[in-house]
């Protein structure tokens, strides 16, 4: 299984999913024209990953903005990671210290998803 990597654009985030270390990163903006088309390859990659995950999976999310359909895709990503039974999964939700909206969005995901979500402040 190969790593999953996509460079950041003005409308899509950077996606870096390293299968050997279990270090995942999503950063930037997520406002694609068609969110499902953009995230579907990642869903498929994750479906494979959860079959044989790393002992520890650490997923860093550093999003500055995402649209509604992207938030649904985020839920889908988290739902897939919830399926990891033989390994630890941690989500690190990063937000800028003056960005209350992104902080509260992280809190909302925390309530819904059955994976520990750690809130991290990025100081300006």
């Amino acid at each position: 299984m190969e790593n999953f990597f996509l460079e950041e654009t003005s409308k899509t985030p950077k996606l870096s999913f390293d299968v050997s270390t279990g270090k995942f990163l999503m950063s930037g903006r997520s406002i694609p024209e068609n969110s499902i088309e953009f995230y579907k390859p990642l869903f498929e990659w994750l479906d494979e990953y959860v079959k044989k995950p790393c002992p520890k999976t650490s997923f860093d999310i550093k999003l500055e903005y995402f649209n509604t359909s992207s938030s649904k895709c985020l839920v889908e990503i988290f739902r897939r990671l919830e399926k990891v039974t033989d390994g630890e999964v941690v989500i690190n939700w990063f937000y800028e210290e003056d960005d209350e909206d992104m902080q509260e969005s992280g809190e909302d995901f925390k309530e819904l998803i059955n994976i520990p979500i750690i809130m991290n402040v990025i100081e300006n």
Partner: protein
């Protein structure tokens, strides 16, 4: 079932749950009595999950809209500041140009006055007196300021027309 538009494919899983529930209702005889409770439980679980996600999406969406509004307000504010600065800059530039023109006119008046008008007025001074000559010069000098204001307004109007 008709093909879902691309953007709704994000609800593929939910569509699948709905499709199988409808299938079950359409052919109740095909399922044994005991499987109904299990199917109902699965449907309730899916509904609870969907409700949780809808709550999250609504709240996240409202918050993101709020973030967008804040960004729009900030852009509008910055745009106003930029317009004001540009107006001030134009006014300053036009003012400088008007002053330069008036200064050049004053210099021109001075030369004309010294070379052409003065010798003739010297003759007139014999009639009106020296104070009459000084009064005339003061009138010309005082008239320069309104001329500058007039010129400035004219140039500002021209600049505004050009902008349109």
């Amino acid at each position: 079932m008709s093909k879902q538009p691309e953007k709704y494919q994000v609800f593929e899983k939910e569509n699948e749950i709905l499709r199988s529930a409808k299938e079950l209702l359409a052919k109740p005889d095909m399922f044994p009595e005991q499987s109904w409770a299990k199917e109902y439980e699965l449907l309730a679980q899916s509904y609870a999950q969907l409700l949780g996600e809808v709550k999250l999406l609504t709240s996240v969406s409202d918050r993101l809209q709020n973030k967008l509004n804040k960004a729009n307000e900030s852009i509008a504010r910055k745009n106003d500041e930029l317009t004001q600065t540009l107006e001030m800059l134009t006014k300053e530039r036009v003012g400088k140009r008007a002053t330069t023109i008036v200064l050049m006119l004053a210099a021109l008046f001075f030369i004309i006055s010294e070379l052409i008008i003065d010798p003739q007025l010297q003759e007139g001074a014999k009639i009106f007196g020296a104070s009459g000559l000084i009064m005339l010069k003061i009138t010309v000098a005082i008239g320069l300021k309104p001329l500058e204001v007039l010129l400035e307004n004219l140039l500002l109007k021209t600049a505004a027309r050009k902008k349109m």
